[in-house]
């Protein structure tokens, strides 16, 4: 399955291996792995993340983003694996990959997948730290990254 929302830890290396194993004659694979950082944007320690999800809606949002990438770029396959629930620093949050005959399309599709995921994935993120918990919303940078693709 190329789009999955998973509750527990997953291994990006295994995702890459199985994504590559499913390809037929592509020459280029670009993958993005998002890892839970041990510090927030202000440098304060983060002890964990909570990614709240809405069963059915969250999966549909990931599916839509994957489908849009396949329609928009000359890529032959994309994969999105996204964690939800409680996540510890250093764990993988997201794996997004694209494969194509040539590298430019694979890079652009992976870049697009991430910009869309940051603003359009139906997920709600809480950072937990020594100083308390904080719900996160897309940053101005996330929104302007997303705008790059709206032409």
């Amino acid at each position: 399955m190329q789009v999955r929302l998973v509750q527990g830890p997953f291994r990006p290396d295994e995702e890459l291996a199985s994504f590559i194993a499913g390809l037929e004659g592509d020459g280029a694979v670009v993958s993005f792995i998002g890892l839970a950082r041990p510090a927030d944007a202000e440098g304060h320690e983060v002890t964990g993340l909570l990614l709240d999800s809405y069963a059915g809606m969250t999966e549909a949002s990931l599916d839509g983003i994957a489908r849009d990438a396949l329609a928009r770029f000359p890529v032959s396959a994309v994969r999105i694996v996204h964690r939800c629930g409680a996540i510890l620093p250093g764990e993988a949050i997201v794996f997004a990959a694209a494969a194509a005959p040539h590298r430019r399309a694979a890079f652009e599709a992976a870049d697009y997948l991430m910009d869309r995921l940051k603003t359009d994935a139906a997920l709600w993120k809480r950072e937990d730290g020594a100083g308390g918990s904080k719900w996160i919303e897309p940053t101005a940078a996330d929104r302007s990254d997303r705008e790059r693709w709206s032409a």
């Binding site: 809405y54 809606m57 996204h82 603003t119 994935a121 139906a122 709600w124 993120k125 809480r126 719900w135």
Partner: protein, 74 residues
């Protein structure tokens, strides 16, 4: 009917509340007014059957209704 909440709304209001829907249904805007509080924020979006909907959409008894804060992505 059940109203679902996610993200910081779920933290303050719980995952769901039970609410009696007026007889002929009501609009999303009317439902939002009745719930008030954090749900009144324009940043909070309404969903019916797991899709975001505009304020004028009519809520009917068989709908699954949710209010969600801005998406925060992965």
């Amino acid at each position: 009917m059940k109203i679902l909440f996610f993200g910081r709304l779920a933290e303050s209001l719980g995952r769901e509340v039970e609410l009696a829907l007026p007889e002929p249904g009501c609009t999303v805007a009317e439902l939002r007014l009745r719930l008030g509080g954090a749900v009144a924020s324009p940043a909070v979006r309404a969903c019916i059957d797991r899709a975001m909907v505009p304020e004028t959409t009519r809520v009917l008894p068989h709908h699954e209704v949710a209010f969600v804060p801005p998406l925060s992505g992965g």
